[in-house]
Amino acid sequence: MNSSPLAALAGQIAAGESSPEKAAADACAAIDRAAVLNAFIQITEKRAATDIERAEQLIDSGNSPLGGVPVAVKDIICTLETRTTCASKLLAEFTSPYEATVTGLLAKAGAVVVGKTNLDEFAMGTTGEHSAFGATRNPWDRQRVPGGSSSGSAAAVAARLVVAALGTDTGGSVRMPAAYCGICGIKPTYGMVSRRGLVAYGSSLDQAGVFASAAADLRIVLAAIAGHDPGDSTSRPDAGLAETVLPENLNGIRIGVVEQLFGQGVSDEVAGPVRAAIGQMQQLGASIVKLEIESIRHAIPAYYIIACAEAASNLSRFDGIRYGSRASGEDIEQVIMRSRSQGFGAEVKRRIMLGSFVLCHGYIDAYYRKAQQLRRKLIDEFASAFAQCDLIAAPAAPTTAPRLGEFGDDPVRMYGQDVCTVPANLAGLPALSIPCGFAAGLPVGLQLIGAKMSDALLLDCAQVYQGKTDFHLQVPPEYQ
């Protein structure tokens, strides 16, 4: 049951049955009606008007892969003619003087940015609750979280407010909310999409990713934004999504099943549908290889040490001096201290402190360097695994969407939710999450992890799977 809502909408626009302007207006009206989800921080009318004008020209010239469709962008990606808040009080009024490469490419492909979506402040969070603009709600159950940190982008696509949205994924921030919200989300190979203009959290882990309801749409958007950017030193020279002929089945595909990705708190209600999906892929022609990747046991601590170290460093620039809200003080030191104390939320402060600590003289060997060694080992183990299989199938999250406030004052338990997703970030691998079932009415996500630059293969497999299943066609009852 392959579908492509994006291509369908672009087709309507091309055929004159709709227009970029009408599609944007429809999206804005839907966003308005779904205000209770708190998925958006801003509706970007001015920006959308610019994009619409451009899209119309592109459509006329027959050169618009994204055909004037409205999209949403996580509010941690710098865009012109909008604010870029990172869901932080510190940047509540911040406007970037330049445009991110990735959104520039979106606009150049004919997309219309209708809004900037809610997130965990500076992308630090697993639930979407740590936002200065309030928590985002899950369209399947408003008492539950949509997952984070790209909470608003996931909720917006799940509620069918937009056909596609951009997120960022440092430790699972695209795949986890995709799983909780019953949609598709891809984190490309590290270096596939430019990071220029993504407000950095963990620079060695961050990648922009895409949300859509169908894998076919992930492919269309990813093709538009992937590519080498000389302005990003970590961008791959070979970045770009290869065009492939979609196979009819999974014949010859070797799927690795890594037991470590089913351990550590993965609930039965999630493991069940995921194993069933693997079974279905086997029926579609894939073979199964059982594998061990020992270092996955240490992925969570290694990830939180590296990500926090980089975050503490990356967030040093927010001193209230050149931009952002500035507190008053007696001297320079006090101005900086108060601006940061008042501007950052609790979770951000926690990670800055953790990250500063692991880089301190006397501790860096025990923490940061040790974590880097583990990361190296994990990369090597993944490399040997991919000598034996083409992709690894696993849960995207250990549970279905938690309730709002479920983790309360226990950040470490929240960090545990990242157990299935952080290994791909640490190893720089492409990974996606697609719906593969429901447990007690809540969506379950199947994660596919591939070797570096196998993004197209992952999308092929996801599309073949979606050709035979309809989990991705399910829409939350209120938003049908």
């Binding site: 990606i77 950095a200 990003d232 030193s233 967030l315 620039r317 050149r322 931009y323 301190c360």
Partner: protein, 481 residues
Amino acid sequence: MAVQDWQMVIGIETHVQLATRAKMFSSAPAAWCEQPNLQANELDFGMPGTLPVANQAAVDMAVRFGLAVDARIATVSEFARKHYFYPDLPKGYQISQFEHPIINGGLITVADDDDQFAVRLVRAHLEEDAGKLTHDMRPGKSLADYNRAGLPLLEIVSEPDLRSARQAAAYGRTLHKLVRWLQICDGNMQEGSLRFDVNVSLRHNESDPLGTRCEIKNLNSFRFVEQAIENEAARQAQLLEAGESIIQQTRLFDTTSGQTRAMRSKEDAQDYRYFPDPDLLPLRIDEQTIEKIRRGMPELPDACRQRYIDQYGLSPYDAGVLSAERGLATYFDEVARQCPDAKLAANWVAGDLLALCNSAGTTPAKAPVTAAMLAGLLSRIADQTVSGKMGKEILAKMWQSQKPADEIIEGEGLSQISDAGQLQEVLATIIEKNPKQVQQYQAGKHKLLGFFVGQAMKETGGQANPQQLNELAKRMLDEQK
């Protein structure tokens, strides 16, 4: 005991601003700009989401330096972040190199009049400069200018091999000359293109362990380097002689009082939390690139000076003057190549040409009289078409008109009269007209030779070959006896 009873041990960290067009990691122009914040882009302001890209030109310049001082060039080096909060540091960290610098080791030979010594280098690494804060322009406000933020710096770290303030200043001058020679720095001291951090400690003998050191930061002239070291050494000697110990600290040199004062001590030193910059891949330089840069290296100042002595037979002093600056040496080399007499070329380049350049505020490379033109003039002097004295006038005219020497000589009929017959005729007339002087000369007043030569010169409009004239006059007067 006094300061002379102590041995100074000095090591210097030099920040050399590399003469690239763009900044170290941003594409903003690196040129000097009076207007604040005009030469800074979003990266230099530390805007969220901006990313650094290493400037290959700066990397190549670091390699040039490394090759010039015979250092090891790291084929893989690493950029690291150095963290501290200060409003002139836009990202809250400086991108520098820490564990794996691009240049390791190296040696600089310093020749200071009567003293020649070698200074070992520890390393040299690439980093970006910070912005500039001004606190006294507006009451109660500090102003931040980020034009300087992100400029490429090569920090050159010496071993503590220097033993006097004078040696330290001479090392600074040698480095200044070398980086200009390599064309990796404009050497403009006023604009801070070279800045020195000086580490000073005292001990009694070479064999003693190193004493506790103090670092004097940010000295931007050789004179200040010398003064600051003298002052700091005296301060330390006084403390040590009073039985007190030196506290390791960073000090500032007050250029008005000539004193150093404490800035911060080691106890409150910051933890910079260095770690590899995840925005930048390890910096790789392959052997081919190093070879290519090696092939493009100019002859170095020391080799050039030695060559002038060996090849042209110049005195060490003249060789030193002509190799003081690369543009001058290039100019001289070209003149010497086209002129039959290298010593003549050396005298004219180091003498008249440099004097003209200095008074016109220009350099040999930009002088209106090119090396080829000067060589043309010197050829006419060497073949005695014109005298040296006439040559000076012709050079002045060449400077004004930019015409070649031959054109001026011909156009103004300036060529020297070396025809013995013609000169004899002139002299005969003068001798005839001045019998009294002839008598006096013959009576032993030989000074009067000058009178006859002068008269003949006047008669020929200064064009007589002076040497020939002298000889002829002497002979003819003697013959009159």
